[in-house]
Symmetry: D2
Subunit: 239 residues, 4 copies
């Protein structure tokens, strides 16, 4: 199983505070804890050629993790189209935090993916509303994060196939924070937390959820569907 | 309540057989039976300026019905973007038959919307699998259509919010033929039947379903959501 | 359209505080605001013969509203069985607040319907997460209730067919507060607020939601499904 | 991982034709192919004390498979209540064919679970409508069964959380044949085929689906939710 962690990696270059929290980038931190779990992990970032997403790398990736924020518009449409096609063919996709506004997520959702937000050190408490879901294996009744950026409803997404986590925020809002979707042969998980100025990806439960999500999103092995003109399987009377 | 019936209107110009079945175009036939139901109906077609979809007309439309097939690629992206925005703002959308491959439907679904098809005079029987749905009010256990184009699974759409009708085809396939979705403030219904060479839109039950769908998709009256930066509604301790 | 408001009506008899808030009972308060909306409303209470739910009354009821708390176990199983059958046949059902533990709701859900609760004057803010839903027509981004009993996740219900409202509570919890289900031909809405010691059913937005829900749950007119042994509609080769 | 295969085991005793097809009972045939897959399997049948479902056995079972038909009413309510509780606590449940009318399935669904049926050697073709689902790993576009009992819509179940397979029948019907549900901490799969007079459980694809379903339904390891009175996690102003 091969995971590719993609990170915009711009905040880390521009903002000392972020660089201090994530000296190896957000992608580096995510790679670190996934590797501990014996998962084969590679990384890619925006400023590499083709954003580090070559056809070969994409073809061998089982699950792609996506973190972006400042520069969604710089991601090339042709790369987005290739990722989209790979998801339909079965590649898992985990979209983190501000990735809600990435081209790939918006293209897969078909909606604006807009939301409310606030950077004010809100306490966040993510409640498990679907305890039967493998993505929350090993998680208690909720995940508490001392300080995070607030994301609030209405979150303009299609109703998730499965709603797994709902956030409570200190400032008075709620948010659908853990949402699964299937699109074509691929499985997608949106996971809310992870603002760049907080050490969220070092939080043990946040790491557990991402590890679980990677396993859950691992492609199902089956031949791709055939589409187009189809001969009848049974005799048609009128012909 | 105002309905706009959009039709590509090309088969009717090129193919005598189609022109005979639908002398006023498919849009004309749909307008006819909706008008009988006291609904205010306008029509628009591909070859009109802006495909007959001006900003004014779009702004006043409550429900848009869409039939296209040969010339999906000729529909301008800017018009599609405007329709998309209006759906998110609450306009209802009913996509008919080969409209599954229209730009607007693909954009809203986020998938390829591909399927199997066959023009072989298959008998079709659409079974009601959600008898509690207002879209099938007045419909029996199934709708039988003597001859139709076959559409078969896998139909590459997101799992519908509600699956209302499932088709049986004589040649051995099944198809999810009546599917509802919500996107933003808008409600969407995909309804399978209606190949241009058959008199399907004169079928009483097909007309009933479309009439019911128009009522169901009528926009909910509420202020559009506010997005973006949001002040806290409660005091945040750390600030 | 005929609505029957059922109320346990015990708190009102035992507790002066409740009697003061609801001098005509909770059922009386609900009847009052529904009547203003030109809906034909009757009421029934636990201590009437057959709990006020005769076969005749049940047969003519389009939507049943249910409030119970102290005496769920006193509701006779045979009455519950009749209500259950009527829901499957198409009668709408709106279950309020502590009705989550009623026999009829548990029977329809198939789960324990358990939850967390606290009587501590929590502020509640119910956020609209499905702005396209007719049940929230005329409602803003959220409904705020100054003081209410807290209900918290995990709420042991099947994933709702549609999740319309999510509550934020001052004490730190969230709750799926507006949930729709279809069972057989019938539509069901669970709506959280309404603890007996608060004047919640005089809240304008709470009233609006219940009014909208009544319209939404109104039965679809169609013949009941036929079940059992079925003759083939097509020739079976091997016979 | 421990699987318990429960079978009514009455047809096998009464009907020579069935005994010939399943000399070790339907439970024996299912145990056989699961064992090949290195899964630890036990069996239980109706006529054993407590139907072979002791508290100890139930406590250690990860996934329960259920086949019943003639004698649903003979299954004791107290045993059904224990199974129900175990499902809510996380035990997986796979309900096969005529188990749609079992007490445990009806209790979990909350509906009549009624359907149409016919014993007429219909050809059945189960189409995959959710290719991203692990339950259809290794399965082609459809599973064809030469002869089976027909089950037809309307199938009176709650809309499945996930619809995986839809059947086409030679006699003209369709059926939702592979349906997943979550109830409490447990996952449930209903799988249609398996009439006792056909060798369906020797069909390679049918076996694959059941093997996949067993893995999918394996309980998620997490502490059971806590319910009831809850102290606030945050300060409530008014107190």
């Amino acid at each position: 199983m091969k995971v590719l962690v993609w990170n915009e990696n711009r905040h880390e270059q521009k903002n000392e505070e972020v660089a201090k929290i994530y000296p190896d980038g957000i992608h580096g931190a995510i790679k670190q804890f996934l590797t501990e779990d014996k998962i084969e992990v590679d990384t890619a970032t925006l400023d590499e050629p083709d954003h580090g997403i070559t056809d070969e790398k994409l073809a061998e990736t089982d699950v792609l993790i996506w973190w972006g924020h400042l520069a969604h518009h710089e991601v090339k449409d042709e790369i987005v189209a290739k990722i989209h096609q790979r998801v339909l063919e079965g590649m898992g996709l985990i979209v983190l935090h501000s990735g809600h506004f990435s081209k790939i997520f918006k293209k897969l959702m078909g909606t604006s993916c807009d939301l409310k937000w606030r950077e004010a050190d809100d306490k966040e408490r993510m409640w498990v509303v679907d305890p039967a879901h493998p993505i929350v294996e090993g998680i208690g009744e909720y995940i508490e994060i001392e300080k995070e950026e607030m994301y609030g409803e209405h979150f303009d997404i299609p109703a998730p196939d499965e709603l797994v986590l709902v956030s409570w925020f200190e400032g008075g809002e709620v948010f659908r924070s853990g949402c699964t979707y299937k699109r074509g042969h691929g499985r997608i998980f949106y996971f809310r937390p992870g603002h760049e100025t907080y050490p969220t990806y070092y939080h043990e439960d946040v790491q557990k959820v991402i590890k679980n999500a990677v396993k859950w999103a691992n492609p199902v092995k089956r031949t791709y569907s055939s589409y187009g003109n189809a001969k009848p399987l049974e005799k048609i009377e009128s012909k």
